[in-house]
Symmetry: C2
Subunit: 165 residues, 2 copies
């Protein structure tokens, strides 16, 4: 059976070593806190204004300001900065925390579309950082798609009809 | 509704700030790689030899050497060392990766019992590091108990609703 990681690499087209090239540089020191805040604000402004209702609706029950803070605190922590996310919310537990959401291939691509736009329109992000971050995001998005599929496996237990899906 | 983090703090009796006091010191630099390898080897030797069959059986389908490597690589990465775990296996995704296992309160306590013994019998772990690590482990164990309960929530979804999702 393929591991989460193998699925993430295959589906995203980003090898694990490229995804985690973010660990070769301290992107937090390079870019600074404000750039991460700007990036996440830019990203979620696009998401909450998305013309595609199916995607926008995934976030309908989440508070935009909280979504922004959760995201930039996680990015800062993961990319070499202080552990802001864990101090406030504990382990990132990416798969567990995405459990309420339908993280499909289609949703991953839409998320990545907005993030690419946000990266391209946030000032002070150099090209090398942009490539490293996008590889990390692409791989991670599909890691979560792989994690999302575990939910369906679980539903096979009580629901025989769901088993055929 | 209580967050994962609030449940972890309440059930473990360890406040988030105490759990993540591991981030105030670089425990990897202080203790070194070999100490982490020794700790995880010590821990899993106890687990695989546990006289309590219900607990030992949780690990029956896992390879002991892999379990040891997964654990010390995660500890090293989380406690200030190189990102060994992510380079090999991707995001820790603690809740997602513990999904196959029944992480009950009872199992958390048994895990912590063995870890306390392992900490106490592994050489070169000073008392301050021991306290910091144990707070982190205790909080994390109950964070995973909280994460485990999400599985039950999922299984309560009736089949007809699951099909429509």
């Amino acid at each position: 059976m393929q591991s989460l990681q193998e699925k993430a690499a295959e589906w995203s087209g980003v090898a694990t070593e490229d995804a985690f090239a973010i660990d070769q540089t301290n992107l937090f020191q390079k870019l600074g806190l404000q750039t991460f805040i700007n990036l996440s604000t830019n990203f979620y402004t696009r998401v909450y204004d998305d013309e595609q209702e199916w995607f926008r609706s995934i976030f309908a029950n989440s508070n935009k300001d909280e979504a922004i803070q959760n995201q930039y605190e996680f990015f800062v922590q993961r990319m070499g900065g202080p552990p802001l996310f864990s101090q406030r919310r504990g382990h990132p537990a990416l798969i567990g925390r995405h459990r309420p959401f339908p993280v499909t291939h289609q949703a991953a691509e839409r998320w990545l579309h907005h993030m690419q736009q946000a990266l391209d329109t946030t000032t002070d992000i150099d090209d090398d950082s942009k490539i490293k971050m996008m590889n990390f995001f692409r791989h991670t998005a599909y890691f979560l798609v792989a994690g999302d599929e575990l939910k369906n496996q679980n539903q096979q237990v009580p629901c025989k009809h769901a088993a055929g899906r």
